[in-house]
Symmetry: C5
Subunit: 353 residues, 5 copies
């Protein structure tokens, strides 16, 4: 998939930490969304631009700042200075198609992973960056539209324990939503693989080849996106001395880990199944060829000798006694019929019919 590469390439030659958005510009304007909540209050804003009070520490509770659209480097830079983020973290936020990873700093945790969405047969990936500080969760997306709406609802309607807990729980919830979204993407792929399995077995049409290879590529693509997420969550779990994540949240993160392990399992199963699809297709083709060959053989082996007999009595020799026999013609028919029947029986015996 050369698409990842092209973006990467555009950046080469620049000094490290140079802030240039290397992805496709997926949205006209940068959308800013600020949600601040404590157990009792919830404040959601969609301001047109990044004002200083949006970046002021909350008096209490959790502040979630979500940025949709990465092409406005100024916005990212402002946030970077406000939270004192490492230049390479800012670079990673802008430089889409990152491999999923987590960076643990004393003051913040930076996680980056791909959100996957099936769209017209193609799996679309969108890079989501998550930053957790002691009071904030920052999220950066390439475009509006995400899998976080149920979380926004839960915050607004104070459902579950989310309003009672800190930013680490919000961070976990977002991660959990992203990982859960992989299930949906995989289900789409799984349904298509299963549908193909039956269809290909029934009718190995050459058109399926492209579909199979397309599925193979998509599975490979998902795999590359999902595998490092396991490492990401594992690293989060291992770093158990970070004060940013409470032990209670850590228990929930273990659940995310279990999910991602299960997802990796499923991806591997799908890889084997797409590989199996090609086998099914190829055996289907060879079965059909076999059937075609058998018909050709049977027709040819029956008629070639008969045609030969007819050819013999089509010869113009002056001295061919059979030609003048009274029952010569019917006799030839009988001989030919008997030969055909014998051959049919033989074929039947060899189980070619």
């Amino acid at each position: 998939m050369a698409r990842q590469m092209k973006k990467q390439v555009r950046k080469l030659g620049l000094p490290p930490g140079a802030l240039v958005h290397t992805g496709q510009r997926k949205v006209e304007h940068v959308h800013i969304e600020s949600i601040r909540y404590t157990d009792s209050v919830c404040d959601a804003l969609r301001p047109p631009s990044l004002t200083p009070d949006l970046l002021a520490d909350p008096a209490a509770g959790v502040a979630w700042l979500n940025i949709d659209g990465l092409h406005d480097v100024g916005v990212i830079e402002t946030i970077g200075q406000r939270f004192d983020l490492h230049p390479l973290v800012l670079e990673d936020i802008l430089h889409t198609d990152q491999r999923a990873k987590v960076e643990l700093d004393d003051r913040y945790i930076y996680a980056v992973l791909q959100m996957l969405r099936p769209e017209n047969d193609y799996i679309q990936s969108e890079q989501i960056s998550l930053i957790l500080t002691d009071r904030w969760v920052l999220t950066f997306q390439e475009a509006p539209g995400d899998v976080f709406d149920p979380i926004r609802d839960r915050i607004r309607q104070n459902k579950g324990r989310i309003r009672k807990l800190g930013p680490d729980y919000l961070f976990y919830t977002l991660l959990d939503a992203l990982v859960d979204s992989y299930f949906l993407t995989l289900e789409k792929i799984g349904d298509r693989i299963e549908a193909l399995q039956e269809e290909v077995a029934r009718n190995p049409d050459p058109d399926f080849l492209n579909l199979i290879h397309h599925l193979k590529r998509e599975t490979l693509f998902i795999r590359r996106a999902i595998w490092p997420v396991r490492e990401l969550v594992n690293n989060l779990l291992r770093e158990d001395d970070s004060p940013l994540i409470t032990p209670a949240t850590r228990t929930f993160l273990k659940d995310v880990y279990d999910h991602i392990v299960q997802i990796v399992d499923i991806v591997e199963t799908y890889r084997e199944m797409t590989a199996g699809l090609l086998d099914i297709y190829l055996t289907g083709i060879s079965n059909r060829m076999n059937a075609v060959m058998k018909v050709l053989t049977i027709i040819a082996t029956i008629f070639i000798p008969l045609t030969f007999i007819a050819g013999v009595y089509g010869m113009n020799f002056q001295h061919m006694p059979e030609l003048s026999w009274r029952w010569g013609y019917p006799a030839v028919w009988i001989v030919m019929g008997v030969a055909a029947i014998i051959m049919l029986i033989l074929f039947k015996r060899k189980r070619w019919l």
Copy 2:
């Protein structure tokens, strides 16, 4: 297999720890079974509903509470509160098709794994959750019917040492029964693979293809269920400071570990054998095609030249001296016979016959 996924998907969007049964409802009513025993007394009940005295700590000995059917979330919630289980444990109990795993808490050990049962060519899996506390063993099943009946008999009839030992021994015995049941399932698969091996080699019928792919899928399915069980038992063994499992029981758990390693070995062997089945099938097909081709070639290569000769003497040229020869016709027969015999000898030499 997309069946696992669908259940998962139904839950997405809910807050973590939300108690919703995501599996198929496999039973009309929730069945409750309570067995309490000491070395001297054994008390087995099948009460219609969950009364508080069922959840009271036993004065002595072991209390085993078995729940068949998971759709009544209230029952699970009551038990969860009674034993102070983590919300995610309750979620895992309800959320069937979990990957096998064990959670070690200070007060309880939670293990979840799949019970496998061959049913009309398909391997049916049923999720079994086991919870061990200092006095209790809790088991949760999706439906009645399990592999624990011999254990129930042993408790009732005070066979072996089970009545003399604590809940950790019961916990081990249940785990052992589940692992042993994998042998039965594998035997079914193994018998079918061996039967197919012989049949496919004898007669590579295209109908076997579906069977082979079905077996492949089932082996993959079993593998996904069994592999994590090894990790589960290994984790149980490694955590040797948990006070819930006595050293004596730990020795027995090592035996379970040996069994599961052996089972994993067999599953891998079966995977190689099913992969080999496809090879056997394909070589069978290509052998048969080879045989068909040979017959076609032999018939065609013998008769095509003969037919040509007959065609030559079927020409209507006015000046064809052979036509008027007295022995022309028999001579042609002789020429054709000799040509046929020479070709047959040639084919014999090349070992095509």
Copy 3:
């Protein structure tokens, strides 16, 4: 390999540690053999039954008790009580087709592995259990006949250092003999693989397919038996604080480890070679099919046009000027000859001949 499974299955439902022999009864009577030796004395007995004095500790030197035949559970139980063996060890002794493993207890070391013997194209496995205590070596076999006779000779004739050393050296010697016997079994397999390689390349007969798959299964079977032996010896080496094995013997065990590593290497090589055999066979088949196809093509492509020409002059049109030409008939022969020669030259050029 469903044979392993069947025995396993017969035992299911019994309490763990229940003593039931699950293997095939390979011998009529249980044979007991007792060899006691010091540097100066050697005492070999083959008593008809297990008397208490056979189980009495030797005053000095080493006592080796060998049991051939496992169906008499009483004998095993008596020995188990005498040496205070764990019930699961007794179960493992009786329950044949164990995966090779070692159990290290404070008072004894229990090792179980398979002895392999080629017998009429099949590799026969027999489970050997070895128990080492401070004064005893106990061995349990399924049937009489083993690879220990050279060791018995060495003890009887006081060859080498065996009579001077303790039971741990005897234990090592027995293990070494078992591991060495794998070389013999592998040599048989290796010879057959090499013989097949040449034969299959020369003449890819479909009958070889069964042989190849048989060899593949046998190699798989050996592999499953031998791989865990490496782990067994490695575990013995790692447990360097067990007082039962002296440092001197440990050095010899390292040698056994080197041998088993070499054997595992050879088994893997043989697996690759059997997999290669199928490739050789299949390419042989496709080569032959290619040759057959070429002959068909050459005969057909030469004679089909010629037959067409003959057919043309076999038409009965009233106005066919060529038919009345004086040299029409010879001319047709010349045309046909030239056409055939041109085609033969063409085929030669394309290297089809």
Copy 4:
């Protein structure tokens, strides 16, 4: 890839540490380049030969000495003595086609890796040796022309932080440039693989085979060059007690590590894709053969019986009543037409048309 080997071989028989340039001589003269900079001053020279003042320690800031061309052993030896490099390091510099590795000494860090450049369908590799001391960075290349020009520009124009930081940052920047250059090389390969995927699927021409195998070899070649670079960077990161690399630079090196992991990911994906290309090609070939076979079968199976019928009525029997029937000839046409139509319908039904 026998090219690597030949150079190696020329050196055999010499004592270890013997300084002989084993690579191809890629340049006429050795080019020397010296860049010395502090935050305020930058001094770039291209002297014709290595004078002592070029090797004098800089008063402040960083000295970068770049050597293009390795065949003048004297130059390398002089530098080796000046910086007291281990003889084996000098040998490694001269002995091109080293596996990427890093050597950590107290006084210097030596890293060697391959710079890759796509050139006329072939990936050209050039060995780059980097040596970092407390004040110096030394680089050795096989020929002029590299990926360091943007870095030279940044130093000269004082862009970014490079002039403010020490030699370890320069060392990192060079390493980063080399790793980034792999992206460019991979992009070339990736584009060619993707282009081939579509073309091969459309038209499986035998000429593509060479291209596919060429791509496979090149991917293998890149893989061998890139894999050990991961280890190299990892070793640099692990040795966190070396005083030569500051913690700030270490953070940047982690970024290089992330890049190289991503590159390894892409290489593995490309390997799978080139392997897939062969599958696509082979299924394309078998699809086409299938199509050819079908046409042959259809034409042959339709006309062979018809020709037989024509042959029958070409026989010269005196008593063939049909021949004298008034409508015999049209009737035969009708019979033949009906037979052809029936066969066409049959083929249609079997989906062969």
Copy 5:
């Protein structure tokens, strides 16, 4: 590779440590070579037999004793007693076709590995045993002729640092020479693989099959010999507390390790390339078959319908109006010509021509 096994087998049944030479006797007489050197003096002898003064400790410097030929067990035994070697070490020296390994004792280091030499298409292996003590290096070879001559020259002519350093440096130099010799062997294999790659692609002759399988076996053989050498050198490096190897020599051993890692890399590449050779061959075969099929199809599909037309007008019906038409015969020719041209155009369109 049953050759390894046979030697092994001859030894079975003997007590461990029994000194029997199990390899092929490759030389008539045992050749003894003694080289003693200090920085100033060098003494090389080729005595006819092993005299006590040959085994006397050198006053200063290094003593190297080289034995060519292993069948004289007495010589080995004498040396074993002189240097107090473990019986198993002596056994390993005599027992050729050992897996490469190193044994670290307090007083000596024993290393055994295979020297490889290409000889008439076959890779010949010869076991070399090296023993390093504080003053001695002992080497045991199966036959005269080795890769150590450049080292002998360096010692005699006092080239490089060898005369200045201790026995550990000699030990390293010998090891390095053996490892370097693998490059030569691999180059031979590599050249043959590359030559085959081009030839097989050009002309997939069945004769190449044997060559490919031969190369595959040889690569497997080399791999089995070389892989454990990596472990050997690694173990030498890890045991950094052995007083027998100085830190300076350890640095040189790291270089040997780098070489062996590179060699293992190349061997793996060659394995992939030989596996690829079979693919190239098989696709070549299937391409050729495809070409043959196409010609058959084209000839057959063009002439079969034409022959049918000719057959029709060869029928003897009394009432066939076309037969008496004036231009019937030319018309038939035109019809047949048009049919043939249409078919050719069709084939052209389908890209079959």
